[in-house]
Symmetry: C2
Subunit: 199 residues, 2 copies
């Protein structure tokens, strides 16, 4: 079937801008694969260009510097994580029991925070502390607490529940050296206390 | 009785330095009285000089700028608050039931944080984020949790209990407009959940 010829809509970006966006995502996905394989330290402008099969100049044109790439990667990763919470498979996404969703959230957020803390350090001045990201997380936890029938100041309880999963706090307790499983076990205990006994 | 003449000890500061330290404290105490009477906005270099009965030049020599004064005031206030926790009257200081001490700690920390948040803003670039101050607080809460017979990852539980009392978090929930009593009531509920039922 031939592709239908559509009149351009007011909010459809021109083909050129769509291509640019697609190329940008391709570069970020290449960078993500490098993070997964070699850690944040392994992500250089050269390695991203090689992984994405483009010239190094293209990577510099898109992100200006390694710091710029790191900041973009942070943003991209946060957006993907939010999508997984909103519409991904359970138990992180919808459809599971709220207690199971809360536990999946805690584990996933803890792991995300550890990677993001490295990205934030690598992004240096290019990184912007995102209050929007925190708002999303706090809103999600409040929603789950309400689903679990918890009463009280859910906003304050959510803040308490989130604190041990946050990067500046994890830095302060010097996570390096403390196994993630130990932090997670402590967090599950905290969640049980806040949600109520019998969990 | 005449003052005994003592041989100077190696770590006794010369009279000149002791005078300087005394004058510095006198200026900080004058600034504290102004904060209590008129809030942080009411503390100008002129007002501090007038309150302490010295020339404006003296205040500038000690603190360089209003920002410098605010940073010094923050440090002085934190030290005084720590002294009240370590050796002040109960229930904030030693001698009260650990649960009463925990509640007094929460109320006092919440009020201190609100004043300090203003000082941090006023200190601008002169303010240094103090991890030492946080370590003291976390250590104190862990001690009280242990006294209350709480078991588990006390470090993590302390982080959760402290989070709703911390300035960056209070900024994020936009405390302005939310009465302190409401935040405190929510925090007491959180503390009851973490310490255990029957409180």
């Amino acid at each position: 079937m031939p592709e239908p010829v559509l009149l351009p809509l007011a909010d459809t970006p021109p083909a050129e801008r769509r291509d640019a966006a697609r190329n940008r995502v391709a570069l970020l996905e290449a960078a993500e694969r490098l993070v997964a394989a070699h850690g944040v330290a392994g992500v250089t402008m050269d390695a991203v260009a090689h992984e994405a099969g483009v010239g190094k100049g293209t990577v510099f044109r898109r992100f200006e510097s390694r710091e710029g790439l790191m900041a973009a990667l942070l943003n991209h990763s946060e957006t993907e994580w939010q999508a997984a919470v909103i519409s991904g498979p359970p138990p992180l996404g919808p459809g599971a029991d709220p207690w199971d969703r809360l536990l999946a959230f805690g584990r996933s957020r803890l792991e995300t925070t550890i990677v993001h803390a490295e990205l934030i350090r690598a992004a240096g001045r290019a990184s912007t502390r995102s209050t929007a990201a925190y708002s999303f997380i706090a809103m999600h936890v409040r929603y789950l607490l309400a689903e679990l029938g918890v009463t009280g100041d859910l906003q304050l309880l959510a803040i308490a529940l989130l604190a041990p999963l946050e990067a500046p706090i994890l830095d302060q307790v010097e996570l390096d050296g403390i196994p993630v499983d130990r932090v997670y076990a402590g967090w599950v205990d905290l969640a049980s206390r806040i949600v109520g006994q019998g969990r």
